[in-house]
């Protein structure tokens, strides 16, 4: 189905890489002992993380954080589970499960769709794409993320080692098929070098170092300052902003049920109901024409959801100075 291709752009792959880069670029646990198999420097530790992600080892991302940071992440996700609207969240995963079924059961209609490019080459590509899309959906549908009940017991160690690793594999398989640069290809090009070794300290007494990274966000070299925290190397900007960012994030979570959910839920739920109706039609379709009509229709609620994302961004933007508070 051509709709699936819409997401698989090069920009998307780069954005994915950027997300991971901005989210961590931290290091695996190591001691500066020079023992074989263990990173001897910040540069080696960062490279180990990049290579681990490139090899679809999601757990390296988790292990890159110190224990208190891991606790912050677990706490935040569990708080999210407590504040998020269960009806909307759970329905989203029910829809993904339905999509997996529709793709499995209506493969013939999907392959013979009259929408978009109908060349034999395209049909062949689509036949190869569908199992990969199904695998990605299956990973999500079997994950710990499928309900708020499960999310309330979120454990980053488990999710990163299991679901995240599988998703990294699935995404790579999709990118490979689509002929775009995959995350693993991108990460394989990343070069990390030590730019300074001044043994400088931050005000808290943590050791600082500077690394030059090439090939992650762009092909040009970027100089990034890292801070050693409890034996983990993390970007200094992340360390400096960690507590405040989490405080802000929790603040947004607290206002979510009263401010964001009422604003966004109607739009989300009408999209979800429309998805459900379209899936019903696709499952029951007795002709190619009927199937295509519903398949094309999937784009309408999808577009609507992209607007929800815009609303969400607006909601989470800091209020301008002097703006009236949302509630008295």
């Amino acid at each position: 189905m051509n709709v699936a291709n819409l997401f698989m752009t090069k920009q998307w792959a780069i954005a994915c890489a950027s997300l991971i880069a901005s989210f961590n670029v931290a290091t695996a646990e190591y001691a500066d002992t020079g023992d074989a198999g263990e990173p001897a420097s910040a540069a080696e530790a960062v490279k180990q993380l990049v290579d681990g992600l490139g090899n679809a080892q999601g757990e390296v991302l988790w292990q890159a954080f110190p224990a208190n940071y891991q606790a912050d992440i677990n706490h935040f996700v569990r708080s999210f589970a407590g504040q998020m609207d269960a009806e909307a969240y759970d329905e989203m995963f029910r829809l993904l499960a339905r999509l997996e079924v529709v793709i499995a059961e209506q493969e013939t209609f999907i392959l013979n769709s009259k929408l978009g490019d109908q060349s034999a080459e395209r049909k062949k590509q689509l036949a190869e794409l569908l199992p990969r899309v199904r695998r990605l959906l299956h990973t999500l549908n079997q994950s710990e993320l499928t309900s708020l009940e499960k999310l309330a017991e979120f454990d980053g160690a488990t999710v990163s080692a299991g679901t995240l690793s599988l998703l990294l594999q699935d995404i790579d398989a999709l990118a490979e098929f689509l002929g775009i640069e995959s995350l693993s290809e991108r990460l394989a090009k990343v070069k990390v070098q030590s730019a300074s070794n001044t043994n400088a300290k931050d005000p808290a007494g943590n050791t600082l170092t500077t690394l030059t990274m090439t090939g992650l966000l762009s092909d040009s070299a970027q100089t990034i300052s890292f801070t050693q925290l409890d034996g983990h190397w993390l970007p200094s900007k992340m360390v400096a902003g960690w507590q405040q960012e989490f405080k802000n994030a929790h603040g947004h979570l607290e206002t979510m049920p009263e401010e964001m959910v009422p604003l966004m839920k109607p739009r989300i739920m009408i999209s979800f109901r429309m998805f459900n109706g379209l899936f019903n039609n696709m499952e029951a379709a007795s002709s190619q024409e009927k199937f295509d009509k519903s398949a094309r229709g999937l784009l309408v609620p999808l577009r609507n959801l992209t607007k929800v994302r815009e609303t969400f961004i607006l909601c989470t933007l800091p209020k301008p100075a002097g703006a009236a508070p949302a509630k008295p």
Binding site: R273, G277, L299, V300, P301
Partner: protein, 284 residues
């Protein structure tokens, strides 16, 4: 004995049901009679009316007032009160009908090729399409080129006070306010989500109920759902049939004299004053 009664009642119900059951037919309107009677020649049979049969049929006042004489129509036929009654009458030919059909096929092709996450927005041209207005005339949207117009989507059976009824009230208010301000030309185009029910005469009655002034207000319908499906798809409007109604989102657009979207608002809370201010900017 009891079983006999049950069978008799069932037979009677079936008989009455058959009598009242509406079936679709195609016919050519030959002449207008008196008392809402049209003389038609049946082209495609419906109900007990046979192909080639010429008969009188009774229609609503609004359908009677349409210029359907000489034109082919599609309608639902029922027989009761000793006469045939037609409802949901749609003209199938007439000036611009062929062009409108061609334009709508092109629109469908355009929609099927536009498989992107973006909808038509400010700066985009409204694609060409044709429709049937509340006067029973085929119209092309390009006929409005050269003057700005408002565009929105409703359906006449909408029972949610803050959705279609409010939207139509605001359009009527906008029309009145615009006229009072003598601000220039501004047409209004309202397309139905529900072409299965909203025939030209239903839309004419709807316009009358809202005291909407013609001739610059165009309620548009079509002979099938394809047109509104394609327009909804291109403008990103959600609509689904649920529990006997149509649940939908609302988008209200202002289109400039060149046929490009100049301003739009989503949702039911759009402001008449805001649209008037935006429309004034378009006056040359």
């Amino acid at each position: 004995m009891r079983a006999g009664w049950i069978v008799s009642i069932a037979v009677a119900c079936t008989f009455v049901g058959n009598l009242l059951a509406a079936e679709q037919l195609r016919a050519r309107v030959l002449a207008k009679g008196e008392s809402r009677l049209l003389k038609v020649a049946v082209l495609e049979p419906g109900g007990k009316l046979a192909k080639g049969q010429v008969t009188d049929v009774k229609v609503s006042y609004a359908d009677y007032a349409m210029g359907y004489v000489g034109r082919e129509i599609r309608a639902e036929a029922s027989h009761y009160d000793s006469s045939w009654h037609l409802k949901k009458v749609f003209p199938l030919d007439g000036p611009l009908a062929e062009q409108a059909n061609q334009d709508n096929e092109s629109l469908n092709k355009l929609a099927n090729e536009r498989l992107t996450l973006t909808t038509l927005g400010v700066g985009d041209s409204v694609p060409e399409f044709g429709a049937i207005d509340q006067r029973g005339n085929y119209r092309l949207i390009s006929q409005l080129k050269g003057r700005p117009y408002m565009l929105n989507f409703i359906f006449t059976r909408c029972a949610a006070p803050t959705m279609c009824p409010q939207s139509t009230r605001k359009m009527a208010e906008l029309q009145d306010s615009w006229r009072e301000q003598k601000a220039g030309q501004l047409d209004i185009v309202t397309v139905t989500f529900d072409p299965e029910y909203d025939s030209p005469s239903i839309m004419a009655a709807y316009a009358q109920a809202y005291k909407i002034e013609e001739p610059n207000y165009h309620f548009m319908t079509w002979t099938n759902e394809q047109l509104v499906d394609d327009l909804r798809f291109l403008f990103g409007i959600l609509a689904m049939k649920e529990n006997g109604t149509i649940n939908h989102t609302l988008t209200t657009l202002l289109v400039d004299a060149d046929g490009k979207i100049a301003y739009l608002e989503e949702g039911p809370d759009w402001s008449v004053d805001q649209f008037i201010a935006e429309a004034k900017k378009l006056q040359k």
